[in-house]
């Protein structure tokens, strides 16, 4: 007999027990674990989706802020550029003005230096000419320079004629003040008398003369009365020389 009914019943019971065992120890734990993992994965996916949404939101916000920042930066940059241009123009203007002022002051200083140099040259030339003339006259004559000047002046008074003589004569006659005779050095009494005589002879009158010493004349004699003047002095020659030297300096290029 191929079928043993006791075995059939026993195997059926065994099978039912095995079903219960498998359900208890295999299917339920495994299916629960799978369900828990699926739940975990679903949770993580939904979390990731939420994070993605949030990240997208943050990204949009960041982009918006970035664009806003760019706009503000461009506006600020434009404003700063304009201000910088204005400031540059103002500073350039100021610098130009300052340069003009400085240039003017330098020009003034240069002019001052030129004037000072002219004066120095004049003084030095006068001194040199005077010294040369004195030395030359001293070498050439036995009388002192002052005597020769007095003689020259006396000769000039004698040689007065024409309009100059008339003007001077009328000036002497119309004033009551004594005529002023200035000389660079104290004049000896003899020379003073010779000059006085020469004046009296020339103008046919008793001309009152007041003698005065003026070192500015360098060397020479000058007679002035009532606005009229006659004389001879090295100063005259020096003035002419100073004028020519001054013209020479003017024509020279500016000092850098």
């Amino acid at each position: 007999m191929l079928i043993d009914w006791f075995t059939v019943v026993a195997q059926a019971l065994n099978f039912l027990i095995l079903v219960w065992l498998m359900k208890r120890y295999l299917y339920k734990p495994i299916l629960n674990a799978i369900a828990a993992r699926e739940k975990l994965v679903a949770g993580e996916l939904s979390d990731a989706a939420a994070k993605k949404t949030e990240a997208q939101k943050d990204r949009d916000e960041f982009q918006r802020k970035n664009e806003e920042f760019d706009r503000q930066r461009a506006a600020l940059l434009s404003k700063a550029t304009d201000e910088a241009k204005a400031e540059r123009a103002r500073l350039l203007d100021e610098a130009r003005k300052a340069a003009d002022v400085l240039s003017a002051s330098r020009h003034d200083a240069l002019n001052g230096e030129v004037r000072s140099l002219n004066q120095s040259i004049s003084r030095r030339t006068q001194d040199e000419v005077f010294a040369i003339a004195r030395k030359a006259l001293a070498d050439l004559a036995t009388v002192s320079l002052e005597e020769r000047i007095g003689e020259v002046f006396t000769r000039r008074v004698h040689s007065l004629n024409g309009k100059a003589k008339d003007c001077l004569a009328s000036a002497i006659r119309t004033t009551s003040d004594p005529a002023l005779l200035r000389s660079a050095f104290d004049m000896p009494a003899g020379q003073q008398a010779a000059i006085r005589n020469a004046l009296n002879e020339t103008f046919s009158a008793d001309v009152k003369v007041r003698f005065e010493t003026t070192p500015d004349l360098v060397a020479g004699i000058e007679l002035s009365t009532n606005g009229q003047e006659i004389g001879w002095s090295i100063s005259d020659y020096l003035a002419s020389m100073e004028k020519s030297v001054g013209e020479l300096l003017k024509s020279a290029p500016d000092v850098q």
Binding site: L2, I3, F15, L21, M22, K23, I30, N32, I34, A36
Partner: protein
């Protein structure tokens, strides 16, 4: 030569006895229960899993998928029965590689017991799913004339289930036993491999047929609550 492990009697008292079929079945039950218990003792719900857990998950989800493909909507409801059928038959077959082992599925008593289990389980699932009237109405579908044919079909398929599995398993074991006496070297190994293959196929056929019968018993149920009732 023993045709069945039923004839391997270890203990007997009256009609009560412990034969080879029962003993090997208990052995298989112990192996499966203890193995399952050991593997599922520390299950991981995270992404890191042990190889054994992976194996069991593949087996369980595979069975679930097969049940679902047959047409059963909630496979977790049927996996206890169908899955255990498959695992028991498969394990009984795989263990044939052990020397001295005789598969309990090579006994017609075991296959008859399994077929009877299916014979009883199918109407139970059908009644549980659509009620007694609904289930009994399925016997007179499409017409009343089909009633005797349906009843005959119930019995014949149960018999077919039992005999098919028994025939395949017993013949496999028998061929190996015969070949061992004739060509005891390499040839029985190939036959054992072939037996393993046919055994796995039989396990699949047996469990998938059970699932199909259950699906047929629950087929008249409406697909879902929103659709119109079947007429």
């Amino acid at each position: 030569m023993r045709l069945s492990s039923d004839q391997m009697i270890f203990w007997q008292h009256g009609f009560l006895k412990i034969n080879g079929t029962i003993a090997f079945t208990w052995g298989l039950m112990l192996l499966m229960a203890i193995g399952s218990k050991l593997i599922t003792r520390r299950l991981s719900t995270g992404l890191d899993r042990t190889r054994w857990q992976n194996l069991l998950e593949i087996v369980v989800t595979g069975i679930n998928q097969q049940i679902e493909e047959v047409g059963l909507r909630h496979p977790e409801k049927y996996i206890g029965f169908v899955g255990t059928l498959f695992l028991f038959v498969a394990m009984a077959n795989i263990c044939t590689i052990l020397p001295g082992y005789s598969p309990p599925t090579g006994s017609l008593s075991t296959t008859a017991a399994l077929a009877l289990s299916v014979f009883i389980a199918v109407p139970l699932f059908g009644i549980g799913d659509q009620g007694v009237r609904g289930y009994l109405r399925s016997y007179v579908q499409p017409t009343v004339i089909m009633l005797p044919f349906n009843i005959i079909s119930e019995f014949s398929r149960t018999l077919a289930l039992a005999v098919r599995l028994f025939g395949n398993m017993m013949s496999g074991a028998m061929i190996i036993a015969i070949l061992l006496t004739i060509t005891p070297f390499v040839f029985p190994i190939f036959m054992t491999m072939l037996g393993l293959l046919t055994g796995m196929v039989q396990a699949y056929i047996f469990s998938i047929l059970a699932a199909v019968y259950i699906a047929a018993a629950t087929r008249t149920r409406k697909p879902d609550a929103a659709s119109a009732p079947a007429t």
